[in-house]
Symmetry: C2
Subunit: 315 residues, 2 copies
């Protein structure tokens, strides 16, 4: 097991050979249509002068959380070629390995979500520290968000230049904000990233994921991304209508469905495809797979999905 | 400190004098318009032959989680008068204490949320055990949900008969379900509770709370409750329109706002009231208060809210 030989997440995710090997593992077993770079949204942080670790059972830890204007001033510009050359190398190798059999997918963290980690000092339940900053010293937070915006725009382009054929932006924590606060602390930065990337890479599909976005859908559309990932808490049919049918959607099967019977899994896949319609839909779970999911059910998911790939169920 | 003298949550919540004292504490300090019974949604469980504990730092623990038809068959009918007489006594005393200065509020857990606890064995992150049951042996889960429905209908009536002037139903985990699964495993039971209570207590206001309900609002309306509590992830104006203006709303200020400046808190209160309109709105946080919230900001919240109670900001 790679995890046993290399218990440090950062070691696994910063070594080209390991990144390639781990990225290819699920593809070799299940042959999905996409190969996702093994990495973390926090991977760029050390290149911005923000050291971090990922500790087993605890998740990410930022040893010196940023809380003041001075802390933010110390955040440096991210130069992917210098700080994370292993990402570019791994993407090029993956592209070569999978050829046209699958798309190679990169990803980055959205500014607000990255800011949440570095202000809170890691994962959080109530996000009281970043909300304290947002609601009492908004300028300090805006300065930090702008730095992440510039760096992540550059990072997306770097990933595309090295072989990523689509890039997903994770704004996992944006949905902890009220819509009006999302409009101030997340939306403008997402828009800026999208428009910056589209200038140099007009054909690179950008995907946005924010879990629990039932209160935000119409605003996610305003970011200008090509694809919105829907988690399972929104009905696919209703989500498509709220987003507008010109936006593609990814999702949105409850990962918990894979704990059900095979018959139930099959039915839910068919229902989801019917609700999504025949156009602009990437079938996927609505969130990451849950530890403990029966592997035979994952295999069943792919089998059913592939079997109906070329049928048109959306009458 | 009561918590130091009585470290067991169950002891504090099952002793009439302590329940009354703790229930009145926030009211004595901040004089809100409501006094909420100090209790837990799991309090009825032992009366249904499901023992539980609430452990510090761990939350609720159900020692023998229910997973099979046989387990469900062992769940007994809840008779509040016999199992939780201290609840009725405490409510009567509270009613007497606060007279017409405040409303006394009771609450119960919704069937799906109670089922989640007893199937998972406590709090959960991914709800894989109850989803396994729902998606592979739905009949077993439905039998359990029916038992909770009957018992909670009875419990609401008991609370009202003993002094509760409104009862909130917490379906905290219903939003872990896809809307289509909510329609199967939660909505019919909520409807049944509401219609059962309305038969005998037509004027008792019933309030429904489900956090993160942005994907479910139109369905929450279908339960027939009088008031829907909105958390802060839905815009108040949009929430009202999606629910329909004939349904009252409670909420929906982000508890994280209380970590902001006083100016910001004031502004958010005014904005929320404007968005809610002048009618059928109970101003409140969109979720429980967060540990570590500055007490002076809580005081400020009440001061501002009371100052504008009789003005009409909703032009």
């Amino acid at each position: 097991m790679i995890c046993e030989r290399y218990p440090s997440f950062r070691e696994r995710s910063e070594n080209v050979d390991l990144v390639v090997e781990i990225s290819l593992q699920p593809w070799k077993v299940f042959k999905p249509d996409g190969v996702i770079l093994f990495s973390d949204i926090l991977t760029p942080l050390p290149g911005m002068n923000i050291p971090f670790d990922i500790l087993k059972g605890k998740g990410p830890v930022i040893h010196d959380p940023l809380r003041t204007a001075n802390d933010v001033a110390g955040v440096t510009e991210f130069v992917p070629e210098e700080s994370v050359p292993y990402v570019g190398e791994a993407l090029s190798i993956l592209r070569e390995e999978v050829k046209s059999e699958a798309a190679v997918l990169g990803f980055v963290g959205a500014p607000f979500t990255l800011a949440s980690y570095v202000v809170e000092g890691g994962s959080s339940k109530h996000f009281s520290k970043i909300k304290n900053l947002a609601f009492s010293q908004p300028k300090v937070l805006h300065a930090l968000l702008q730095k992440f915006t510039d760096s992540m725009s550059r990072y997306i382009k770097y990933q595309a230049d090295n072989g990523a054929q689509a890039v997903q932006i994770f704004d996992s924590w944006a949905t902890e904000l009220s819509p009006v606060d999302f409009e101030e602390f997340s939306l403008p930065y997402l828009k800026e990233i999208v428009s910056s990337v589209k200038k140099t890479h007009p054909h690179l599909p950008l995907i946005l994921y924010a879990s629990g976005s039932g209160g935000l859908l119409e605003r996610l559309r305003l970011t200008g991304v090509d694809v919105v990932s829907l988690d399972w808490t929104v009905d696919m049919w209703e989500g498509r209508r709220r987003l507008g049918l010109d936006v593609a959607v990814q999702g949105n099967i409850d990962p918990g469905v894979l704990f059900g019977s095979k018959e139930f899994i099959t039915k839910r896949i068919h229902d989801t495809i019917k609700k999504a319609g025949s156009d602009k839909h990437i079938l996927n779970l609505g969130h990451g797979i849950v530890v403990g999911t029966p592997e035979e059910n994952v295999a069943h998911f792919f089998e059913v999905a592939k079997g109906i790939r070329y049928s048109n169920l959306s009458s």
